[in-house]
């Protein structure tokens, strides 16, 4: 949003001179937009398509700035976090290495020989196993350790492992396929490869931020400046920054999810054209082959497409159902293909998902629902106590969202978590106030809201199902991590915009305060990680 148009929204008591100055700027701005619109209409009339360059030129400078901030933040986190100290990074690296070196997907190995000799040696040189989960042990620091690491890196050991990729083995390949590009660019030095792969994550974070910007402008067009500030907050949200600075398929999941949110917002607020339907379908398909957690989001997406279909049929007849059907068809194609391939090769139709399902069905649906409920909400009477002594919402989701970095081993002192409750409650209350005040407008957008809510619930349930499977298999369930909820980042942005609007005449001051809190949170998170690994 331009400075001039921003000013036009303010209601300050400005002088006559300043008002006329504003009027002139606004007129100039309107003329400029009219000229742009005429040019666009001319392009459409002549049948010319709006090319990518034109599309990129239409992206506001504010959006580019937010994206650049996300990129820089991710890059800083990628350097601060020692190699292979991101969540499950060795496993994700092994997946990319397997894909790049052999062109095949990882698989469970009977011998359990682990990662490639090259990766194993470098992990030893970095003391990766000793450092992870042990906050008292810093990253390597001596010249001798660096010399050993240099030798390990330059030893030219085999990059071929047993074909296993640890916890990443069962994940779909799209993100890892993308990461083979930086892997190839950094060939010859495993640490360079990892750094380039991490920077790819930072790039994905920049794209995610751009998509969040457009999503917010689409759903909350009345306060464009607040959308920009909220996007800026997302760009510097420290958990998002930390994840984007590590090698993890979650980074692509965040991007795909943000894109799906944007497509649905456009479809609900404008119309689901065939072009948008194809794009939505492709994104859903991409989500399925990015990370299994997308299944949770997909349930809500398909519900949204169904609601759009009903709306379109009611207003424009049966033919209008074509677009949602196209989106759903393209989106479901990877799942259908997976089922067919498994059936033809005499494997269980649902593949590795079957093992998860079998652990779920052992104790019955009630236990599973009870577990998932308690993972987020207080236990109800009659439910088995799965999290005795743990306030799951506070201890697992809130406190860990406030700060849990590295390999789940770098956190803030408890007083920081307690302090963070104050702005969090204030933001929630202001957002709630706006929702109550705008309840009539919400009723008109019920279908869209139901879609976003079911997408969110789908993600929560999916995380809960995986946690329950882990609880049944290993007796450990509370390793849950708020990063799994970051596919809902666009909704966090919306909450921030609504909170700012809820402050009434103090909206802009509140937005500034929220931004400063996010900024300080990011800076102190980075310092905390630096102190843990290098202090």
């Amino acid at each position: 949003m331009s400075k001039a148009s921003t000013r036009s929204t303010s209601t300050g008591k400005s002088s006559v001179g300043s008002r006329s100055f504003q009027r002139r700027r606004e007129t100039k701005q309107t003329r400029l937009s009219q000229r742009r619109a005429t040019r666009r209409r001319a392009l459409v009339r002549t049948g010319a398509t709006i090319d990518l360059r034109d599309l990129l030129l239409r992206v506001p400078v504010a959006a580019w700035m937010c994206a650049l901030v996300a990129l820089l933040n991710g890059a800083a986190w990628s350097i601060i976090t020692p190699p292979f100290q991101g969540r499950d990074e060795p496993a994700h690296f092994a997946y990319v290495q397997q894909l790049a070196e052999t062109g095949t997907l990882p698989h469970e190995s009977v011998e359990h020989q682990g990662f490639s000799p090259e990766e194993t040696r470098v992990l030893e040189g970095l003391h990766q196993e000793e450092i992870k989960l042990s906050p008292e042990i810093p990253a390597i620091s001596s010249t001798a350790e660096q010399r050993t690491l240099d030798q390990d890196v330059n030893e030219n050991l085999s990059a071929l492992g047993s074909g296993e990729a640890g916890v990443a083995t069962a994940e779909p390949p799209l993100y890892y396929a993308l990461e083979t590009v930086p892997y190839a660019l950094g060939a010859g030095n495993i640490l360079t490869q990892l750094e380039l792969m991490r920077l790819t994550g930072a790039l994905l974070a920049a794209i995610t931020t751009l998509l969040v910007f457009f999503f917010l402008r689409e759903i909350l067009p009345r306060a464009p400046w607040a959308c920009t500030i909220a996007t800026a907050c997302i760009a510097i949200q420290p958990l998002f920054g930390f994840m984007s600075g590590t090698l993890n398929p979650d980074n692509m999941l965040y991007t795909v999810s943000a894109a799906v949110f944007l497509c649905l917002a456009r479809a609900f607020r404008r119309e689901l054209s065939i072009r948008l339907a194809i794009l939505t379908g492709v994104l859903i398909a991409a989500g399925f082959i990015t990370k299994l957690n997308f299944i949770g989001l997909a349930a809500g997406v398909f519900l949204g497409l169904g609601l759009l279909g009903v709306r379109e049929v009611r207003s424009r007849g049966r033919n209008a159902a074509r677009a949602p059907a196209i989106a759903a068809g393209i989106g479901a194609s990877p799942v259908a293909l997976y089922l067919v391939v498994n059936s033809l090769s005499n494997h269980p139709a649902l593949g590795s998902v079957v093992s998860d399902l079998s652990t779920l069905t052992n104790k019955g649906a009630f236990h599973e629902i009870s577990y998932i409920w308690q993972l987020y909400l207080p236990r109800l009477p009659g439910m088995t106590h799965y999290f005795a002594g743990i306030g799951t919402f506070r201890d697992i989701w809130f406190d860990r969202f406030v700060g849990l970095y590295g390999w789940l081993d770098t956190e803030f002192p408890n007083w920081v978590d307690n302090l963070a409750l104050i702005p969090a409650i204030a933001v929630a209350a202001l957002c709630f106030k706006t929702l109550v005040v705008s309840r009539h407008a919400l009723r008109e957008r019920l279908g869209e809201l139901v879609t976003y809510a079911s997408m969110s619930i789908g993600v929560l349930v999916m995380v809960g199902v995986a946690s329950y499977a882990s609880h049944n298999a290993n007796g450990v369930g509370a390793f849950d991590d708020p990063r799994y909820l970051l596919p809902m980042l666009p909704l966090l942005g919306a909450v921030l915009v609504l909170a700012a609007r809820g402050a009434g005449r103090w909206a802009s001051t509140t937005a500034a305060a929220i931004l400063i809190i996010f900024f300080a949170h990011d800076i102190f998170s980075q310092l905390q990680v630096i102190a843990r690994y290098y202090g």
Binding site: G17, S20, P82, P83, I390, D417, T509, F519
Partner: protein, 232 residues
Amino acid sequence: MTEHLSDAGGGKAPDQRRLRSIGPARVTLALGAVLTIAAVALTLTGSPLRVVSVGAKSQQTLGSTTTDTTLCQSGESLPGGLSGIRLGLEGPVGPPVLLRAFSQGRVITEGSRAPNWTDSSVTIPVKPLQHSVKPVKLCFYVNANSELLKLYGVHTTAQEAARGKSGQVLPGRFSVEYLAPSNESWWSRAFSVARHMGVGHAITGTWVALLVAVIVAAAASLILSLAWKELP
């Protein structure tokens, strides 16, 4: 006419306009940025905690529990300047821990840690101790949750081993390390931290820390200038 007068007001008018445009939002932004920088500077005047002595340290498992537990071990020696005690406990969602140190039946220091720590050890801040004290009986109480809690330590004879509340003997002494603030502040350790950051990465050298600082500063100035422009 007024427009003419306003725009032709010499050097003062644009300044006044600029001043008027600095509303409460921009003041909040500027003040917030300054406060953040001040808070960082103040935080860095603190000193990192360092291990000054070790009671016992090993990753051998002594036992595990999912119930409330009290364990004590005698013959500990607490160093002067002590302000934190690290215990060898591991849990996916660490439970609340209360720790007390006794000398001649008197509590000489104590501390507690709220739940939700996640590591293979837990550091409990305690009331600072001015002088070293020994022998000390160290006890901790764990208000267990549903997650399995592991206790690490060193296997010893039954005589030296830690004991439970009802007198049951553990197979050894639990891991314990004593921490005190180092003599240097984070500021005075800045170069050492920067040198450390330059080890073990794809790019090496002390300048890596400078690179991070430049990137963070660039991101910070971008975001603040964006907010400055956008806030009404």
